[in-house]
Amino acid sequence: MNTGYLLREGWRCISRRRTQFILASLVIAACIMLMTVFLIITFALSVLLNVIAKRGEIYAFVTDAAAADCISIVSQASMLEGVQEVRFVTKDEALAELRTDLGDDVDLLNAIDSNPLPASLRLTLGPGLSSFEQLANLEQKLRLLPGVTEVWSSKDAIMQLARAVRTASFVDGVVLLITVVSSIFIVFQAVDSSVSSHRQEIEIMELVGASPLTVRLPFILQGTAQGICGGLIAFLILIVIYIITRSSVPIPEIPMIQTFALDVSLGLTFGFVGSIFALRRRV
């Protein structure tokens, strides 16, 4: 069938049930927006987790005696699995760091006569250290090194964040399932009712020898257009919300092109699948 004529037929399907088309598009938009928001949150948490994990350091505090033979303890720590780099921080360097960290409150240190801070090993973790079990294992091995008094890492914070990412991913899955089913159902209903109202046209088309594809195309076009409209509306609303939120809260930048592509392709897929389901049942 000629493309121009096909588009006109598709538009005829849409315009005959304009209100339903708009309502269906809005529902699809709401579903896609919900899904996108959850995906963005999960994505942001994952990025944050990666950043923290990459910056993750382990502090191993050592006795003054061990600090005296720093080359030996650094060499032992370097040989542990998962350690990328070991830096030895002397008592004086630790105090200097503390002074910097205290900033305007540096006067507090004047009350102390001697340097109470211990020397320490700062271990940067390598990419080979992928699980928290390995991290815990490394901490355990560090504690067993002679002269190490205490070990500290950001393991707990990372674990909490990872748990949050896992929860968010699970919620994403549930939201995804609900929105996919809802969107497809909405398109299904809209196309199904459109098919009912075009029953006579369909009968005549079949009677005169139109191919099944020719009969179905205008309805597929309707469903797909509905989905794409939903995707576009979802994207626009999301951008408005993002701009408003960003003006008051410092939130990370969202990938515009990817979000646009995601929303529109989700809408297109929902529209296409929904209309195919409706047509399989009715035509």
Partner: protein, 244 residues
Amino acid sequence: MPQREKHPLQSTHSDLITDISPYAVVLTEVSKFYGDSWPALTDVSLTVQKGDFVFLLGATGAGKTTLLRLLYRHELPDSGEIRVLGEDVVTMPQKRIPQLRRRIGVIFQDFRLLPDRTIYENLEFVLRAVGLQSDTIAPRIQETLGRLGLLHKRDCFPHQLSGGEQQKASIARALVKSPDLILADEPTGNIDPQASGDILNILKDINYEGATVLMATHDAKLAEATGRRRIVLDAGRVVRDDLS
């Protein structure tokens, strides 16, 4: 008999079928039941030669419409064989049905025109649906409407036409794709006698140009007046056939 102009559609499908049979329609012991007990057709056997004009007579419920519906494969029989334009319509695969239907023009008593489209658009719809190229559509519609005297009504909607004109438009829709076989189901049932005469004359002209016409009607007088072959159905059985 004048040679019918070959339609572009025909070259795409009818040439694929080697139809050397002299018959447009062959039914062999065809039976069709609705439900378990109501026989719509029982052991119906008949043939219609290519180029024939045949009346299918019978009272309401005699099985005329069922027979026509079997011919354009709207329904399948419970038993028997049916060949239409050389095709075995009972065993033919689903994907070949559109090709068969492109060679058949169906006319209904209730016209079945699309109410929200003009007469021109009703015809255009058919030609687009069967995949005709844009440049051939307008001349073909003009020619068909002109032939049926409907050119001046081309931009009217069905409700703006009289019953006779609507039936003419319905015939135009069947004719516009130059079918080999016309199946007319009570085409004069909803129109006045004057318009009925016009419709019959149009169908005779179409037949004269080479198309086979099978017209179902309960109007025995109309059929008798034409002197054409009549097949009479009663309770789903052929009770009379002028051929035999």
